[in-house]
Symmetry: C2
Subunit: 227 residues, 2 copies
């Protein structure tokens, strides 16, 4: 079985991505980050999802993204509520500078140690929050970088960054996840959960998720403070 | 003055790079990493160099590169001594997987927060240890990535990764640093210093440095356990 590193946030998208990596015959090595996010509950969700979907291994890298500030997800900046999440022209304050670049760099490091050439990321350019590092051109640029950046690349390995959700709607992602046996009750997507862990139902991430379940004609199995 | 993020390890190359950024009219924001390196003395050297060369600010990001292992610089693997450091065909065990990719990703994140579009890195492809992420094609690939990876890039910023040492010999770097007032007695290059902090004189990094000073006809001002 070919090994692959799978970025796993604990949300709906990355859980589905992990299931797709399994379906495609890869042995998944799941990678999460403790990066000073306000919503640390997602790491607990990542652990549940990694176990449920039989990740071969799950590592959590502790990295400091607060050192520079500049995002509502890591700083004392309010997470916007009930924003029109589809106005993708505007990049919201929940954008964490260069986050996916940093995450993929770590995935690349682990690939080298594992002798793997495949990375899976749940980036999505359709029902997303307008983040630049979720676009196909970003994925393609990182793929080109990986092969010149590494010892394995110099020795002939061609890295492949799989972003299987990139052109899917949130509804399609939910359908695909269910087809592959993902238990969405184990996932966590909210940017700004209440102190009791309940999803807020009003941040971009909750709204996109709720709209996705509505479009599929299902009720999201996780509890919300408001929906 | 235009702002630039300068990667600063505390070694001879990055100190010279910081001096070049200053000479070129940039306001330097120096960035170092506590990444679990065995030779933590380099962070003390980085602080001295940042202060001596008037970095506008100096931040140290704590990141975990030990989480994957795979390098003599972060693991309990012996650092090779008296190796033929110029046999650049072979990539040595001191290579840290994807290290410069990770470092540049962090520099890019700080750029976005600072509104900067310039990054300086002391990568060198001549008198170097054979690391893939010190080559011009790596620098060019990261530059292309930066502009598609970021909010600033989407909004039209063109990032520039400056690697002013990339084609210089170690002797040329030393000459350039002295011309720009770098005090090399404040720098630290050894991969495997003794417990009292003395440079070993036998690892790749020490040997390249000592050869460079010899080629210039000078004595390296730092003390060595053996040379």
């Amino acid at each position: 079985m070919k090994r692959a590193v799978v970025l796993l946030s604990g949300g709906l998208d990355s859980a589905t991505t992990l299931a797709i990596a399994r379906r495609d015959g890869f042995e998944p090595f799941a990678l999460s980050f403790a990066y000073g996010q306000r919503h640390n509950l997602e790491l607990e969700a990542a652990k549940r999802v990694a176990a449920a979907l039989n990740a071969h291994e799950h590592r959590i890298a502790t990295i400091d993204l607060r050192v520079f500030g500049g995002s509502a997800l890591t700083d004392e900046i309010a997470v916007p509520k009930n924003r029109d999440a589809k106005s993708a022209d505007e990049i919201p304050i929940t954008y964490v500078p260069a986050r996916n670049t940093i995450f993929l760099s770590y995935a690349l490091a682990w690939c080298e140690v594992l002798g793997a050439a495949d990375i899976f990321i749940g980036a999505n350019a359709i029902d997303y929050s307008g983040y630049p590092d979720c676009r196909p051109e970003f994925i393609a640029a990182f793929e080109r970088l990986a092969s010149v950046a590494t010892k394995a690349g110099v020795e002939g390995t061609r890295f492949h960054i799989h972003a299987p959700l990139i052109s899917m709607s949130k509804a399609d992602i939910i359908r695909k996840g269910m087809e592959l046996g993902v238990d969405f009750s184990q996932t966590h997507s909210c940017y700004d959960p209440a102190s009791d862990g309940l999803a807020c139902g009003q941040c971009d991430s909750c709204r996109l998720r709720l709209e996705g379940f509505r479009a599929v004609g299902l009720v999201d199995p996780i509890p919300y403070a408001a929906r």
